[in-house]
Symmetry: C2
């Protein structure tokens, strides 16, 4: 399939920005003025709090264009940005996207990227309403800033977790890392084959590859909290990995945790890949990042009520006294203390 490749310098940045303006995601009444001025203008509610989060992503560090289609990349980076707002129990409203574009990226590829951003913005009901578009010498660099709102009594921090609270995670863990392992293996095979085309057959690994390339943020769990009037005592999104992110909650809340290792949810496909790679699947679940699942703690009395309207979460442990202490119960009668450093 032949694709057109138009250099950005052939049309110029003003014309490119005009094209980008077409991809604004969902229209939000809070956005008084979007792309096209020095700053976007936002009308906040007088009672809600605003949440603001910003991240930067570089080619070669955070993504690899060999196996990341630009449309998926736009979706994924938007997911990463809004996931932080859901982790505060807030609803995203506005997205600002900065993109620094090297010569190897065509006008069409930039449009694919923003097409992915647009799709994600519609899924998360958020308006793309500003940012910056500039040239880059070698690598594609993207920065995403998301702004959301939350009734002030609903905001959830990393601090606030109490002794005895249940530790819960949504979905399953380690899938994004499993997907990355598959993609890296395919890339290596391709490089060794010296072929011009990278056309991996990934049909067997569809679930984990999708989790790596185009993850979804857990808007649904935040909606379930609001609907059930349950407020977790602390929350964080799983971007670094279960242990690293749990550590942030423990440090901020000044508490310890015990994790029941066999309870940690892992998909069959992830297990299969760990087997193929001759690796320990628990490492995928404990240390794998980019799952964008939610890790939250709540009073054990709330578990049944939440379960009655939202099923996709698993209790993986509970909070215990002892600052920053992390015990891992292997399920075989053994409990080991993990070093949190």
């Amino acid at each position: 399939m032949e694709e057109s490749f138009q250099q950005i310098q052939d049309i110029g940045f003003p014309a490119l920005i005009k094209k980008i303006k077409e991809y604004q995601g969902a229209i939000r009444k809070e956005i008084v003025s979007g792309i096209g001025d020095d700053a976007a203008v936002f009308k906040a509610s007088g009672t809600d709090l605003l949440t603001t989060s910003s991240e930067i992503f570089l080619e070669g560090v955070h993504f690899d264009l060999t196996y990341s289609p630009l449309q998926h990349l736009g979706y994924k980076l938007t997911t990463a940005a809004v996931s932080d707002l859901y982790a505060m129990n807030s609803n995203p409203v506005q997205l600002l996207v900065n993109i620094a574009i090297p010569n190897k990226i065509s006008v069409q590829m930039v449009e694919q990227f923003f097409n992915g951003v647009d799709t994600a913005c519609k899924d998360y009901n958020i308006q793309l309403s500003g940012g910056d578009t500039t040239a880059s010498h070698q690598i594609l660099a993207v920065s995403m800033t998301a702004i959301g709102s939350v009734p002030k009594e609903d905001v959830i921090y990393r601090k606030g977790a109490n002794d005895g609270d249940l530790i819960c995670v949504t979905g399953d863990l380690g899938s994004a890392l499993a997907g990355l392992r598959v993609l890296m293996r395919e890339k290596k095979d391709w490089q060794e084959s010296e072929s011009d085309y990278f056309q991996p057959d990934l049909s067997e690994y569809e679930y984990v590859v999708q989790r790596q390339l185009m993850p979804h943020a857990r808007k649904d769990v935040v909606e379930a909290f609001r609907k059930s009037k349950i407020k977790p005592t602390s929350m964080i999104d799983l971007s670094q990995g279960l242990l690293a992110d749990l550590k942030s909650i423990l440090v901020e809340s000044g508490i310890g945790a015990e994790i029941y290792s066999p309870a940690v949810p892992i998909s069959l496909e992830t297990r299969k890949i760990a087997d193929e790679m001759k690796e320990d699947v628990d490492k995928y679940a404990f240390y794998g990042g980019e799952d964008y699942e939610m890790l939250f703690t709540m009073n054990e009395n709330d578990a049944g009520k939440l379960r009655s309207i939202f099923e996709d979460f698993t209790v993986v442990g509970k909070l215990i006294s002892g600052q920053d202490k992390l015990l891992l119960n292997t399920g075989e009668g053994e409990t080991v203390e993990l070093d949190l450093k």
Copy 2:
């Protein structure tokens, strides 16, 4: 002078972030929770509008570490971020800084960068309250997001300029480009000398070099507008250059302009450098970017009132009917029409 050089991997990102937390600029009551959670939490006033702006800056494209001390760079990029908020006639409140750091940048250099950010945040009364810190393979990349607030009747857009309005600029133009020319000449001399140390003598060019390395955003003019109860009809900050930025106002307002070339304010030092470089100084003033002066239009009846409390602005032309039409009066009886494309 020997400086310590500590690799970031020697202390790790969590320890680095702990150091960065020390540099939070001015404390703002609006910031309920700053660095250290998934998102910062912001309490907006119920009546003001918020302004949000985000930009990305890459080493080798937007700055050169050969002659940009990191402290100055932190100050300059903060200036660039807040200048966009002043251009909306709003006051900055919150800054989010994303930084992707290559190996060649030490812990101490990162601290110098944030020291510059901190100084600028204090000058502009803004709180550094979030962002992202990550590794980079080769280049330093920074993204800055600024959030401000403005009473809803005070917000000024690029659109709104009317036939007959005066076109005004603060300060003098082309100085940042003149400073860049000096620094690039010194760098070339240094490279040709094959010396290990880059120790240029810039004392003769202090003003323009400072305008290039550590520009100040025009908080004072926005304060003067509020104090005098004058509201310009349109405004933009001069980041691209006089003609490019004026064009944005003309396009958005659907109007034309006539500029009196001899009225455009240019410093003596800038004139001296253009002479040394055998270049036309008007080109510095018309096309030079990064001045971070303000370009605004206002009803001619307001000029005297503004002048009585704020002197540092010059009337450089007026708006005329004729969409996007830009006439340049050379002051020698000649008027040329510029191509705005």
